[in-house]
Each structure stands twice: as C-alpha cells, then as structure tokens.
Amino acid sequence: MIGKRYPALIAVCLVVAIALFACGCTQPGEKTAQPTTPQGQARESISLSGSTTVLPVAQAAANAYMNTHANAEIMVTGGGSSVGIQAAGEGTAPIGMSSRDLKAEEKARYPDLVSTVIGNDGIAVIVHPSNTVGPLTLEQVKGIYQGKYTNWKELGGPDTTIVLVGRDSASGTREFFHEKVMNKEDFAAGQLEKNSNGAVKQTVAQTPGAIGYVGLGYLDGTVRAVPILVNGTPIEPSVRAVLDRKYPISRPLILVTKGEPAGLAKDFIRFLLSQEGQKILEKEGFVPLGQA
C-alpha cells in the first residue's frame, strides 16, 4: 500500500525537475530586457540590486515612482555593492547600487559601466548615550581607532575602556572612513567588526564604552552623535552641515548602469535626481546633491 506511492512520487518529482531544466534552457531574462514602451500599457519591471546602504532610498523612491506609474514595477534587492556592480555589469539587473566608487578591477572587467551619483551619505561618529565625552577632532578619532587612546578619560570622558566598533573591511563606509579619517593607516586589531549600520548602532547602544560610525539616517535616541571639531568649531553631524560642506565626513551614493541608462531605468534615475526624488533621499536621512 505505502510502497505504491513512491514510484508515483518520484516520477512526479522527476517530471518537475526536467520541466524546470527545460525552462532553464529557453531564453530567460525576457522579463528584465523587455523592449520599453514608456507610454504603453504593458507592465514593465526593472530591478535594482546592490548596496544595502542605498537600498532604503531606492525602495522609498521606487514606491513613490510606482504610485504615479501604475504599470511600472521596480524591485530592489540588497546583497552588497559588489553584487550590484556585478549584476549591472553582467546585465542581470539594469541598475546596480553602490556605496563606493568602482575599483580599478571592476572598471577593467566591465568597461562600459556608467556611474550616476544620486546623493551623499554623511557619517556620524557615535557613542553610548551615557558617554559624556566632548567634541573630538578627526585626529583624535583616528587616534582612538588606531588604539592610541584606550580609555575615555584620556579624552575628557568617563573612566571606561574604549570598545572600537567598525564596519567590515569590504564595506564602502569603512573604506571611506579609512581614507578620510584614518588617512589609510591601519585600524587597531581588536576592533569589533559589523556588516551593517544597524548592527554597529545596536552594539554601540548597548555597550557603555563603545564608539562607532554610521550613516546619518541611523541617528536616534539610543546613541549619541559626537560633534566633530573642525578648526576649533564643534560641528554636529546633520544633513544641513554636510550640505553646507561644514561636516567633514560624507561619501557618495552611486547607481551604475551598463552604458547610458535607457527606458524605465533612465526615467527612474531621472526621478531620483528630481526635486521630489531628492526630498525622499533627505527623508531617509541621506544628503541630497544640493547645488553642486
């Protein structure tokens, strides 16, 4: 009785498997490469893939865009800057998102990639809310991350051991921090490394001695942003301060396309660069392009 079901089951599964492979052999990818008819009635979809930092902006903009374009579907997926650049380069996603500039290797591999800067990300240095340390110079922040200072009292803060929290070595945020703050010098070895802004914030929020760096969008009551002393003036990190070029740590957000963008992709990027798109960007805690 029981035995009789197995051949049937296996047969069904095999048929399914074969069908799946057959599908695989027909030309896939028509979804992403549909000929575009901007004013047409056909449902059109594109996907954006890449940096998780850019993801919230892209998603928010996509929602707004789709509200006014009933036939468009824009899907956003994460994975990391590298994934986005590869996807755009290989043509599996029309738009790649990146929170860092293209590396030489990537430019060599995909020479026809075009980058479009859509905004900036200001980076705030954060500590635990109970930490009373005053404004820090970039030199001091660098010293902290190099391990020169090991206790907050050396910087006028409470008597607590400093816990370094940073991003992983492949992260665009860290790369930027490494260049702009550390002047490409090495981080201390005991640094705790996190793979997302959220995780950095979470750790700093629950560790009294911690210091970390996150995008402006992540600032809330659970952590305290430390003002940065620039030429003796403490500057609070804010969108305004970055726009006014007073706040020193910010990096670009980039969309990459294979060749000049076209069709829906082109229209969507145009939307992002428009006033409305830039407003969405600002609402998500990023810095709009401004006049520059």
Binding site: G24, G29, L55, V76, A108, S169, D186, G190, E193
Partner: protein, 654 residues
C-alpha cells in the same frame, strides 16, 4: 487437503527482472549521479575563484600568516591564522556546550521521559532548529552579549563565549534529534540482558545503550558540528569579528572572527576580481579543507566503533595506522573519562562566577569523582538522572526564553492587515504578505528538488550498491557540503545560476540554491534511516521472490520513513530560515505584484527580517512580527511532518 487453484503465473524460465526494474535503477542512478555532479561542480567553482590567492600571496603566507588586513596600507595582509583559530575556538566551545547537553537530553527523551512527555519534548526541541539564524543572531546580540558584558564586567560581551553559546544552542536540535533516534534504535534485548544481571537503569544506559548507540551519536555530533562550522549569520552578529587570536589562548571573553563570519561580512561588498575577492574564496576552500579533516577523522572513529561492535556485518575497511585511535588500558581510559567529564561539567560554573566558578566547580566535581567508588550504584543513578534532567530542563528553558522573547515582542505586531498586505514605508508599516508567499514558494521548490534527488541518491547508494568507490565519493562529498557555509551556496548560486545561466535574481535560482544546500542533509539522514532497517527484513522479502525495488519500496522504505522525515524536517527548517543563500539569488526587498513566473524575483521572510533589522531604522515592531510569522510558518511545516512521522512510527514495529 487439496491445493487452491494457482493464482500465479506458471513458472517459466528464470528471466531477469523486467524493464520496470531497470528504469527505476537508472532513475536512482541518475539521482546519485546528479548529486555527485552538483557537489563537484560547487567544489570546482570554489577552487577556480580561490586559487589566485594561493599563487599571489603564497600558500604559506596565506595559511600561516597571522594578520588579516585586506585594506592594509601599503600592503594588504591576507593571513588566515586568526580566522582559523577563531573558527576552531568557537566550534570547540560550542561542542563543549552542545554535546553534553544534547546527549543528556537525548537520553532523557529516549529512555527516561514518559511517552506523553516525550511526544511533546522531541518536537519542541526540533523547533529550535526552525528558528532562523538571523533571529538567533539578534537574540545573541541584544540579550546574550549584554548579559555577558554585565556578568563578567568586560567592556564588550561580543566574544568567543557568546559565539560558542549561540552556536551550541543552534547545534543542539540536530544533536538531540539524531542521537535520540540512535538511542531509541538500540535493541531492547541489550537493555533486558543488562537489567537481568542486576544492573541499575543508569548502568544499563551508560554501559550498554549509549555504547551501542555510539555510531549514531557520533554521526549526530558530526552533523551538529557541521552546522556550527558552517553557520554564518548568527555567529557574525555575536563574536565581534575582530581578526585576532585570543590572548591568552583560553580567554573566552576575547572577540574572535570565524572563517564563515569573514565570508559573511566581507563577501557582499568586496569588488569582484580583486585579490581580496580571491582571498575570500581561499577562505572558503580552507573552510572546506577543515570540514574534510574533521569529517575524515570522525568517519574513521565511527568506522572503528562499528568494526569493534559488529565485525563481519560492516565492511572492515583498512584504516591507515596514523589514524587509528590508540587503545588505552581500561584504567587510563577511566581516568581520562573522569578528567574530561569534570572539565566539561565544570563549564556549568562558568556563567555564574566566571573563572572562579569554573575552578570551584572543577574542585567539587573532582572531589565527587575521587569519592566515586564509595558511592553506591543507586546514588550514582540518582546523581546521573538529576544531571540529565537538569540538562534537559536547561535546554527547554533556553527554548522557552528564545521563543517567549520573540513572541512577546512580535505578537502585538500581528494583524490581518500584517498578514495580507504588501509592505509600505520600507516595511515600517503595512504587511508582509508577498514575503510569506515567497518563502512558501522557495521552500516548496527547494524541498521538491532536494527530497526526490536526495532520497533517490540515498536509496541507490544504500540499497543498490555495495560499499564502493562511488558511495565513498558521494559520502565524502556530502559531508564536505554539509560543512559548507550557506553563504558559499549563495555565491555559487549568484555566479552560476544568476550570472552564468542568466536566470537573473529569480525564484528558480533561489529554489535551486536552497535545494542544493539541504541536499547533503537529506542524503545523509535518509541513508542513516535506511541502514537502520534490519537486513533480515530485506532477506525475508527477497526470499519471497520480490524484486529489489519491490523490497525497497514495500519493506525497507516504510519503516525508514520516520528517519527520512526527521531529515526533511531539519532541512525545511533550515531552508525556511536561511538568509545567506537567497541573499544574492532570489530576493527583492519589496514587491508590488506576486511573482508570475519562476524567473521573477520574490520577497522572503528571513531576508525581510534581515533588512528590517540591519538597514531600516525604526522598524522594531514589524521586525519581531516578521520573526513570529516565520517561526509560525516553520511550526506549521513541522506539525505536518511530525504528524507523518508519528503516523508511521505507530505502524512500525519489528
């Protein structure tokens, strides 16, 4: 007496089995072949992208370099010794926690608990396996590391210890579930023989039942260890990921970074084609090599155990002299066991008063061990049963704490709207309907691919082949893949399915990737289950003139169904909760329309949870709501599977 009229065909010439039999044989062979091909495909893929780093930095500098600093200036450092040390430390720690707890718990469920309790506890523990690793990671990050920081008075709780505890908890369900099966399978005659000699229940368990179940228990530990070595998402959230070797070496409070953690945090952002990229694949290759060594050692040990207990039945393979387990004299062995037991038991003291607690416990337990001889077997039994029950209670407590943490924070977020609407405002409001559907699609596809393929391959290997080269290759391959971190599968899916086959980020790419990921588990557990069916049953069927397939399908498979289903349960839980393999292959963050073809991307619960938790500020409630839905979904799968298993178990006696 007259014979009833013949109801069978007249006996003719002795003809070979019919075409049906041949077809089935070929089908099963192709399953096994396909499994082999995919396994080696993945290996080849890893090696292809990994070998440049060995050329560039030199094998020695890569394997034995003590500094990992890929962005170092002016020269990047790719030395993976700290990563290897981190992996070994965290895994060993996890095993030190999970093995005693898990085996105690398995003994308790299999031999001590009344049937009613057993019926509740076993599935409850299997549920632990269904909690997605992201949830473990968050629980670890928010609750556990904070607790370690406060308890031990260290600046940060993100440490080797935290990683070991979380990985230990994650390995527990596998260890418990599989060793419980093994212990339950020890024939009742052994227990009766021992009890009839006046042995106490505990003496019988410790000296006859557990040794008899040792091959199965070892397999459980290996599976658990595979899970621990390959885990990515949870471990990278709690270990701090500082690429340093703990100093001093036994400093469990030092942050560490594992090989998988390195892949997990750096893989997504690293630029393809750079040395850093190749170095990460090199890391994956090293990880595989470690898994291989661990598995080979373990296989050797299991092989020896089986040889020792059942010569003639199992094939005694020649074991190279160097791998032989040295035979200790009983006295030495007894002492070694005692010392080990004391060392492990003393870990109980660690959470309460740190190193002092450990030493205190060690002292107490040593005293106990020394006065052991003066203790009557009955007192020993009491102590042993107390410890075992305590361990089981601890496991259940852990389960309760994690579940209640998720439920308390997540249930308020649940509503009809949450379950039926697409997300709005980046998931901060609205629902998760497309993610539920997407996860169902993904899991169904993965199971639909892996179950027939895996079961077919396992049947072929265990029923149609004698132990030979092919079985050995497949077994080694599956054991390797079992330890491969899920993120490596994700990368493979991305490079091969998404980019090379141009599937794009799509449902089908995700299904295949997940299916491949759970394939080793399915093959392995099915094989174990089939092996558990007595040879006499097969002989009985074959002696009646049944064909091989008739025997397999009607006699061998039905009693093996509970074991196969257990494997499927563990796989479903894993497939539903994994983030890493679908991260690059199948998912989008938000979707307006449900996917309309296998080539559309989908939303998925674990990914939604992951993004909400890491990249969307201010989505707290929905984050836990998503976790609850994911958990409930897994419970649903489990309920069905456990129902099937109980049904078959009731009807299976021999």
């Amino acid at each position: 007496m007259t014979l009833s009229p013949r109801r069978f065909a007249k006996p003719g010439r002795l003809i070979p089995a019919g075409t049906g039999e041949t077809v089935i044989r070929v089908l099963l062979l192709s399953c096994a072949g396909l499994a082999v091909i995919t396994i080696f495909f993945i290996l080849a893929f890893l090696l292809r992208d990994g070998y440049p780093i060995f050329l560039e930095t030199g094998t020695t500098d890569f394997l034995f370099g003590t500094e990992w600093n890929p962005t170092g200036y002016p020269v990047a450092q790719f030395g993976i010794i700290p990563l290897i040390a981190g992996t070994l430390c965290v895994t060993l720690g996890a095993m030190a926690i999970a093995v005693p707890l898990g085996i105690s718990c398995a003994i308790c469920i299999a031999r001590l608990a009344p049937p009613a309790v057993r019926a509740v506890v076993k599935p409850a523990i299997e549920l632990l396996a269904g909690i997605p690793s992201v949830v473990y990671g968050f629980f670890g990050l928010i609750v556990l590391t904070d607790w370690i920081r406060a308890t031990f008075g260290v600046p940060s709780g993100e440490s080797w210890l935290a990683g070991s505890i979380i990985l230990g908890i994650m390995a527990l369900p596998t260890i418990i579930s599989v060793s419980e099966d093994a212990i339950s399978c020890v024939p009742r005659e052994f227990a009766e023989g021992s009890l009839a000699l006046g042995a106490t229940h505990w003496q019988t368990i410790a000296r006859v039942i557990v040794p008899g179940a040792l091959p199965g228990i070892s397999a459980a530990v290996i599976l658990g260890m595979g899970r621990a070595i390959g885990e990515t998402m949870a471990v990278l959230m709690v270990t701090g990921n500082a690429a340093i070797i703990p100093s001093p070496l036994w400093n469990v409070l030092s942050p560490v970074r594992t090989l998988t953690g390195t892949l997990g945090i750096e893989m997504g952002e690293v630029a393809a084609g750079t040395m850093h990229y190749h170095a990460l694949f090199g890391v994956a290759v090293v990880l595989l090599a470690i898994t291989l060594v661990v598995n080979l050692a373990a296989t050797t040990i299991i092989g020896r155990l089986r040889e020792q207990y059942a010569p003639g039945k199992m094939l005694g393979r020649a074991v190279p002299g160097i791998l032989r387990v040295p035979r200790l004299s009983p006295g030495v062995r007894e002492w070694a066991q005692k010392v080990l037991l004391v060392a492990i038991l003393s870990l109980i003291g660690l959470p309460f008063a740190g190193i002092a607690g450990y030493c205190g416990c060690a002292f107490l337990f040593s005293l106990a061990a020394l006065s052991w001889r003066r203790v009557t077997p009955r007192t020993t039994q009491k102590i042993a049963f107390f410890l075992i029950s305590a361990a089981t209670a601890a496991v259940l407590l852990i389960l309760a704490v994690i579940l209640s943490d998720i439920l308390v924070k997540g249930l308020p977020a649940l509503s009809i709207e949450f379950l039926t609407e697409p997300p709005r405002d980046l998931g901060r409001s609205g629902g998760i309907f497309p993610a539920i559907v997407g996860t169902l699609y993904l899991v169904a596809g993965a199971i639909g691919l892996a179950l027939p393929l895996g079961i077919g391959a396992a049947i072929y290997l265990s029923e149609y082949r004698t132990e030979g080269r092919l079985t050995k290759i497949v077994r080694t391959g599956t054991e390797l893949l079992n330890g491969t971190p899920s993120i490596v599968f994700g990368l493979f899916g991305f490079a091969f399915l998404v980019l090379f086959l141009k599937f794009g980020v799509s449902l089908i790419a995700g299904q295949i990737t997940l299916g491949l990921m759970i394939l080793p588990t399915v093959i392995r557990t099915t094989e174990e289950a089939l092996k558990g069916v007595p040879v006499s049953l097969r002989e009985g069927s074959l002696a009646l003139g049944a064909t091989q397939w008739q025997t397999v399908s009607r006699v061998v498979i039905p009693p093996a169904v509970p074991g196969i289903v257990t494997g499927a349960i563990l796989s479903i839980g894993r497939a539903a909760g994994e983030t890493a393999p679908i991260l690059f292959t199948a998912v989008v963050f938000s979707q307006r329309f449900l996917p309309d073809s296998p080539f559309s991307p989908v939303m998925a619960l674990p990914y939604h949870l992951y993004i909400l938790a890491t990249n969307i500020p201010g989505a707290g409630a929905n984050r836990y709501g998503t976790a609850v839905v994911l958990l409930l979904l897994v419970i649903l799968f489990y309920a069905v599977a456990i129902g099937i298993r109980t049904h078959y178990q009731k009807n299976t006696h021999w």
